[in-house]
């Protein structure tokens, strides 16, 4: 089912991303034993975004030939690999921490969960290699057009297609790149992409929290992440929401992993680059950029003042600019107008003033919540309890602030959309929650104590000298 060439194309993208992350933020993850997994999962997101954009540019420029694409990527891989190995020559010593005694239980449970997830994914992909509706009606269909310079504009045509030809092109471009490697539009390429993205998604959350908090926290987070049943359906459906969520989580990772108190330009620009990839994946990516920028502005303003806040947001936007510019160029000069944007202004005041519409959407948002997964997160919070205020840095609040802004933004889109809200709630809401789910888990676990914080201090016997002294007195 999974073509080795498809896997090779992904391996090159992930390796390129891994070396890119190692070069740009060599201290990401510090000396932790989880740092390689963290860099690999971040590398999956970076590699996917970079190679996809490079491929799209080559298609538009008229050079999407197989030797050109593969040659460029292999040369970039060799250069980045050599640079990264030279730079990472001196490894740092990992900090010694006291591990939670049941970390092995959590590791076993997480491995079992991932095995179940893989089994479900492979079965679903074998029986339905075409994926879900959006995969064959939008993402993979448009990938066919991106295989040739003569047809790339078909992917953004305004002809009647009954599809969203105004959507961004990053995912379709990545699928087309895989097909170019495989020399055929094989179903195994989008299946492999969905698989790698899903694994990177869980690995990134787990390794990031293992580095920032402890391995037990990282493993608990992976378990709660995978307790959301929608993830199990969305992955084999090959929907763009999962890559979008991976880019969002990667951007948030860069902001919370940043070790510099004043904000490192490298971490901030890489976070911006990930949000740029998100804008190139789905329209919701633009909302993610706004949410992360606003959350960063607010958190920094409160802690370090307006000047620092503007500086950090500036670096974030700088990182997003190249891909955002490419997406905007395609949107303005090639793609048809977005019916969502053009229809939002219609009956604007009526929609805002319609209390029934507010209630209907609020009820839909409430009913669509992933209840079981949320209850599990709440139980974990009740067990571990919040960290003391003195231990919480402003960065800990970033994911939750971004989550809240995104939720409010999604609600506003539902309120103002020209589409029928009942249909949208039924078809799009669980995908929106999937995009938000990792930010909620990350934010939650950053604000909770670790199991290690509850370690019982060892009782030491009083020194014998003192005992004797007391007896003699």
């Amino acid at each position: 089912m999974i073509d080795p060439i498809a896997l090779l194309s992904l391996a090159i993208a992930v390796a390129l991303g891994y070396f890119g992350v190692s070069l740009w933020v060599p201290d990401a993850g510090g000396g932790s034993r989880w740092a390689p997994l963290l860099r690999t999962s971040l590398g999956a997101a970076l590699g996917m975004g970079v190679t996809s954009c490079l491929y799209l540019l080559l298609v538009i420029a008229g050079a999407p030939a197989r030797p050109v694409v593969i040659g460029l990527e292999v040369v970039a891989l060799i250069v980045a690999g050599a640079g990264s190995l030279r730079r990472n020559a001196a490894p740092t010593t990992p900090p010694s921490i006291t591990a939670f005694s049941l970390t092995w239980v959590l590791a076993g449970a997480a491995l079992l969960m991932i095995a179940l997830f893989l089994s479900a994914f492979l079965t679903a992909s074998e029986l339905n290699p075409q994926g879900g509706w959006d995969a064959f009606a939008i993402w993979n269909l448009r990938a066919h057009y991106l295989l040739h310079t003569e047809t790339w504009r078909f992917a953004v045509t305004s002809q009647p297609m009954g599809s969203h030809m105004e959507y961004p092109l990053l995912l379709s471009s990545f699928v087309a790149r895989g097909w170019l490697y495989a020399d055929a539009p094989s179903a195994s390429v989008p299946i492999s992409i969905a698989l790698i993205v899903s694994l990177a998604f869980a690995a990134l959350l787990g390794s990031m929290l293992s580095v920032l908090r402890s391995p037990a926290v990282g493993l608990l987070a992976v378990l709660v992440l995978l307790a959301n049943p929608y993830l199990w359906r969305a992955a084999p459906d090959q929907y763009a929401d999962l890559p979008l969520a991976l880019f969002g989580l990667s951007a948030a990772a860069m902001l919370v992993l940043d070790p510099a108190p004043q904000g490192s330009p490298r971490y901030l620009t890489l976070a911006g680059m990930f949000t740029g990839f998100a804008t190139g994946t789905k329209n919701e990516g633009t909302l993610l950029l706004v949410a992360l920028a606003a959350a960063l502005l607010a958190a920094t303003w409160r802690g370090a003042g307006p000047r620092q806040a503007i500086r950090r947001v500036g670096f974030l936007l700088l990182g997003a600019l190249p891909v955002l510019g490419l997406s905007l160029w395609i949107k303005i000069f090639a793609a048809p107008p977005d019916p969502l944007v053009s229809g939002m202004g219609k009956d604007l005041l009526h929609k805002i003033g319609d209390a029934g519409r507010w209630m209907h959407i609020a009820a839909g948002f409430f009913q669509g919540l992933p209840a079981v997964a949320l209850i599990l997160l709440a139980l974990t919070a009740a067990l571990l309890r919040p960290r003391p205020a003195t231990e919480r840095s402003p960065a800990c609040f970033l994911p939750l602030a971004a989550f809240a802004i995104l939720l409010a933004g999604d609600f506003a889109v539902f309120l103002l959309t020209p589409d029928e809200t009942g249909w949208l709630l039924a078809t799009a809401l669980d995908r929106l929650y999937l995009q938000l789910w990792p930010l909620l888990i990350l934010g939650g676990f950053l604000l909770l104590r670790r199991p290690e914080d509850f370690a019982i201090p060892a009782v030491t016997a009083p020194p014998p000298k003192a005992k004797r002294a007391r007896r003699s007195s």
């Binding site: 921490i97 006291t98 591990a99 939670f100 005694s101 049941l102 239980v105 449970a109 079992l112 179940l116 997830f117 479900a120 079965t123 679903a124 029986l127 339905n128 290699p129 075409q130 509706w133 064959f136 009606a137 993979n140 269909l141 066919h144 057009y145 295989l147 040739h148 047809t151 078909f154 002809q159 009647p160 297609m161 009954g162 599809s163 539009p185 179903a187 037990a216 608990l220 378990l223 709660v224 995978l226 307790a227 959301n228 049943p229 993830l231 199990w232 359906r233 084999p236 079981v372 997964a373 599990l376 139980l379 974990t380 067990l383 199991p451 290690e452 509850f454 370690a455 019982i456 060892a458």
Partner: protein
């Protein structure tokens, strides 16, 4: 890395949460597996490349192709049938109109007077490939 001692309530709580997550995972696995078995390629998307192989050989490459069908786009099955053809004939752009393109692919769910269906859009039959697949060309 060393292990310390922890309160029993914490160890029990962590085990319970891990267990509940696993139960949720098993439920998600069952639901995903049942759904995948119950709906195997429900719109026959994967059958279209073989069904349209001859049409793909005859139609001009990398161009805009019209689409004519007896299935309504208002129905999910009609839209799905269209996307199946659009994927199978890509990188040709199959548009939801039979009124402008020079070449039109007919995709029919049951036998009918294909010539009359084409004539309504000023199209002549080039080839009836069977199985509901018909190639039309615009009249000069």
């Amino acid at each position: 890395m060393t292990s310390g001692k922890y309160p029993v309530w914490l160890q029990a709580g962590v085990c319970v949460i891990a267990g509940l997550c696993l139960i949720a995972g098993i439920e998600a696995y069952r639901a995903a597996d049942a759904s995948a078995h119950a709906f195997q390629d429900p719109y026959l998307i994967n059958a279209q490349p073989d069904r349209l192989r001859e049409a793909a050989r005859l139609l001009p490459d990398k161009t805009v192709i019209g689409y004519l069908s007896d299935l309504s786009f208002e129905e999910a099955i009609g839209s799905a049938a269209y996307f199946g053809v659009a994927n199978a004939l890509a990188p040709r752009l199959v548009v939801r109109s039979a009124d402008e393109p020079q070449w039109v692919i007919g995709n029919f769910s049951h036998p009918l007077d294909f010539a009359a269906a084409g004539a309504a859009h000023h199209l002549d039959i080039v080839r009836d490939l069977g199985n509901g697949v018909v190639i039309f060309r615009r009249r000069p």
